[in-house]
């Protein structure tokens, strides 16, 4: 049997077991640790797909920082889940239907790892070879620079690309260069989240807390209007 397939099935079984354990376990600290374990398994899956950058992020963010942040939140909330014997049938139905629709949607996708899938032919080869046509816009000055450097980069996988072999990691080339705008505004989103956090969770002084208390007691404006 194909060893990659075997590895994938093992990982899937482990992940399903972990996910079920996260849902069923009552102790929230245990659930948080299991989520970290789930992230580590997910990093192995990315690793198996040769998506090293994603695996790296999953291990650092999913298994590392977010686990610590969740534990930090647990200090405030307590580690016991509130007992709620009720079964939420409509919600279960909604989730099952949504999942079924999503699985139905995957039937139209090309098989996993199919080299003739459309996604591997539209644009991707140019980005992988790093010959998208950036340098052509700069004119002859660039070209001479390329040629003078081609000798140094000849030992790399592709010394004749737009970066003269300086950027072997094509993920970074796409993120930081070809899609530089996207990454800049992604950073802006992270920055905005951080600023919002600073503004929202600023330690409330006495006056602010009193004001908030008054606002909560006040009746809804819609009821006063007529």
């Amino acid at each position: 049997m194909d060893s990659v397939f075997l590895y994938d099935v093992t990982l899937l079984a482990l992940m399903t077991a972990t996910a079920l354990a996260v849902v069923t376990v009552r102790h929230l600290l245990a659930a948080t640790m299991l989520l970290g374990f789930y992230s580590l398994l997910m990093a192995l899956v990315w690793n198996n797909m040769y998506a090293m950058d994603v695996a790296f992020t999953e291990a650092a963010v999913g298994a590392g920082v977010s686990t610590i942040l969740l534990i930090g939140a647990l200090v405030h909330t307590g580690t016991k889940e509130r007992e709620d014997g009720k079964k939420h049938w409509p919600e279960l139905l909604l989730v099952v239907v949504t999942g079924a629709v999503l699985i139905y949607g995957t039937f139209d996708m090309p098989p996993f790892g199919d080299p003739s899938a459309p996604i591997h032919h539209h644009g991707a080869p140019e980005y992988i070879l790093q010959k998208v046509g950036k340098a052509a816009a700069h004119g002859s000055e660039d070209e001479s620079g390329h040629e003078s450097h081609a000798g140094a980069g000849a030992g790399s996988a592709h010394g004749d690309d737009e970066f003269a072999g300086h950027v072997p990691n094509l993920v970074t080339a796409v993120l930081a260069d070809y899609r530089g705008y996207d990454t800049m505004f992604e950073t802006a989103v992270i920055f905005t989240a951080g600023v919002c956090l600073v503004l929202l969770l600023r330690p409330a002084n006495g006056r602010a807390r009193r004001r908030r208390g008054r606002r909560d007691r006040r009746p809804e404006p819609a009821e006063e209007a007529p």
Partner: protein
């Protein structure tokens, strides 16, 4: 955790290496796996580890809140600044090839590294802020 000897000693030994590994991941972003986001998270986690072991107050002494707030904006400013520098040197926004006139291909790599540092600084500052807000302040 302040009284436990094992986390203190292990943490003290580990933190410098983690602090070094973060910039390594950012700088080598265009050579191997990694980049600004991952490196920033690693940098941030070094400070979080310090705060976990020695307490948020000690961590505040090493890295004051004002410094973190400045770093928060400095990262995105560095990113946009590299873009504007490209404009000033006669290219288009975020065109790194004009940064070094004699060697455009190397300039692309340089611009990418600078931009990745911008991402990393902002991400690290946000991670530290997140942890401090959740763990430190009530």
């Amino acid at each position: 955790m302040r009284e436990q000897i094992v986390p203190r000693v292990v943490g003290k030994m580990l933190i410098p290496y983690v602090l070094l590994f973060g910039p390594y991941v950012i700088t080598h972003g265009e050579l191997g796996p990694g980049g600004g986001f991952q490196g920033g998270v690693i940098l941030g986690s070094a400070v979080i580890l310090h705060a976990l072991i020695f307490g948020v107050r000690e961590s505040r002494k090493a890295l004051p809140r004002g410094a973190i707030d400045v770093l928060l904006g400095l990262g995105i400013l560095l990113y946009a600044g590299v873009g504007v520098l490209g404009l000033l040197l006669g290219g288009s926004f975020l065109d790194y090839s004009v940064l070094v006139k004699s060697n455009p291909a190397a300039a692309e790599a340089l611009g990418m590294t600078l931009v990745e540092y911008g991402v990393g600084i902002t991400v690290a500052a946000v991670m530290i802020t997140l942890f401090n807000k959740i763990a430190g302040e009530r």
